[in-house]
Symmetry: C2
Subunit: 339 residues, 2 copies
DNA sequence: ATCAAAAATACAATCGATTGTATTTTTAAT
DNA sequence: ATTAAAAATACAATCGATTGTATTTTTGAT
């Protein structure tokens, strides 16, 4: 039920002029005299005219819109990124469409289809945990839609990325625990197919190696890193009687689950088990004990990724060139690791 | 840089048929024979055709898209609502555009303009804390775009709403504190111009009255209810030497700030000050002490609001009729109020 | 007052898909 | 084989805005 059907043609008719003049007036073209412009703007206002962007974008073959796809909007890291994206995009005259895959590959594919069908000018994405084939992502590029990955990227050549050094993050977290005197450090990881989890795990192993600690297979536990996974991981460790005095979790949420479960099992944190998380979710400052974690500069990553994407959109030949920006991450020490 | 320029006309040319037949085939119209359809679908696939929704939507004057506007996507309550919205909308064949006003009226206005210009079929909104005039909201309805409010609604006649009973929420929270023996209950409220805060405050006053406790002006503190506001509120109370033994905060975030500040000031919760929040954010289960709060069924509200909106979209005359759905809210008792 | 140059505006095609109507092709009954 | 009815496909207008080109109007110099 569309009441407002005012088009530039209606305005043209009302003023007995041509619609092309109306269009030019509304776009403040120098080809229309100020007197005519004023007249048109006034009538447009009175008639309640509003540009139909569907028609405009169709004709111009540009939408000035970018899509940003994250696993979950409710994660603080991702909503920070989005805030950076929005700020940068708006300043550059772009609208932003926010989408969440909920960690499901099917949804991610659907989202990209819809964004492409709506002819967004570019896409920012942090892939889901189920994303192990990249057809849908390559499909976007083949359609000429620039794509920039942030945080959770993937291993295809010629992509643009804004990342942190996950290897270093994993290394720093683990080295910190070792420095605090921990010897038996468990690692909660995400799906090993994702680059970020591979790299955090590599960093973990490297720190062990540097300190002459042997890596043990049973210390690597991969999961979806939800709170319940943290709980389940601890239960599994305790059930199997595996000895451990520290955990490096590849995200904060699973670390929170672990803390809750350990406390329930009467273990002391950090005395019995020291813990380091990843991402610096706000909840890590509230839990007792507060959680040591690796901070990721979400807002800045969002800004950088958007800058890179817009550069891609504006530069016709950019689809061929590859660029990766690495942002600084840093360890934030809190109670959970203060042995 | 659009590489893919395949249109139905290209497909038509390749097969030496008319584009209208291609269009009908792609839409699975009974007017095209199966043999032709198969042929067209095959070529469309090969050529990498993808429907241009701008053109399609323009012609059909329908986008099958709804917009949902929340103050912040990072708030758990709102992201739950969004999840409910998405689930219901997708099942009904609608896409969802997620937008956040960041509590700014200017952004809210912009968002609604953009959504309207993009010809969304309907809008779901929970207004910002700055939204005190409703022109932009009425403007949408005047343009024939159905609008449904959820949670933070506003006082204009003929609207559709999905709410909780905020009066009851405020009453229950306050009565709970009184039952626990509190006599001097401070209320942290949001901007008094918003219906939900007015109603929660009315509930608070009514509970006091029912229990023969006089309301005191200095017990009402209005703010934007951010964490820092909770902290500032406590500082103000302590500075002024105002005596209080309980807080009913109109959201959890300010309550968290209050808890942090009270603990810093060596006060015991709940012994010295009992606290009840509002919305049941996940953080309320993690903070120490855990926070008693009023639970709002976000996911269900999202589903209900979307159902109502889609009913509005499908029913031509519905713009005139008013409907308000009240969902159940309930008090969740946790440590912060167990005197 | 005349006329070329400049300025303002009108005309018409276009973006890509949809859809009512017209035309062609097929089917089937005689 | 003929022909009317039915089925399949083609034609052309349309959605609303944009934009290159054509036309008209205005300006200003003579």
């Amino acid at each position: 039920m569309n009441i407002n059907k005012v088009t530039i043609h209606d305005i043209a008719k009302a003023l007995d002029i041509n619609s092309s003049t109306v269009s030019r007036a509304l776009n403040d073209s120098p080809r229309v005299t100020k007197k005519t412009k004023d007249k048109i703007l006034k009538v447009a206002q009175e008639m309640g005219y509003q540009r139909n962007l569907l028609a405009s974008n169709l004709r111009k073959n540009v939408t000035n819109t970018i899509g940003v796809v994250v696993p979950r909007i409710s994660r603080h890291f991702f909503s920070s990124v989005i805030q950076g994206v929005e700020e940068t995009a708006y300043q550059a005259g772009f609208s932003v469409i926010i989408c969440q895959s909920l960690e499901q590959l099917e949804r991610e594919k659907n989202i990209l289809e819809t964004l492409a069908a709506n002819r967004v000018d570019g896409v920012l994405i942090s892939i889901s945990m189920e994303t192990m084939d990249y057809e849908h992502l390559e499909g976007l590029k083949n359609r000429g839609i620039p794509l920039v990955f942030f945080d959770r990227h993937c291993n295809i050549p010629g992509t643009n990325n804004v990342l942190i050094d996950d290897f270093k993050g994993g290394y720093d977290a683990t080295q910190h625990l070792i420095t605090k005197g921990c010897k038996n450090i468990v690692h909660f990881s995400g799906p090993q197919e994702l680059e970020i989890y591979k790299n955090r795990f590599r960093g973990y192993k490297e720190a062990l190696k540097k300190n002459g600690i042997a890596f043990r297979d049973e210390y690597l536990i991969s999961s979806r890193l939800m709170e319940q996974d943290g709980i389940d991981n601890i239960k599994k460790l305790l059930d199997k009687g595996i000895v451990f005095d520290a955990i490096f979790s590849a995200n904060d949420v699973a670390a929170i689950g672990a803390i809750k479960c350990l406390i329930e099992n009467k273990m002391k944190i950090p005395e019995d088990v020291a813990i380091v998380g990843f991402s610096n979710e706000p909840i890590s400052t509230v839990i007792n004990p507060t959680l040591t974690t690796i901070n990721q500069p979400g807002f800045e990553m969002g800004k950088a990724a958007t800058d890179l994407l817009i550069k891609n959109i504006k530069d016709e030949n950019s689809l061929l060139q590859e660029e990766t920006i690495i942002m600084e991450s840093n360890l934030i020490e809190r109670q959970s690791s203060q042995k």
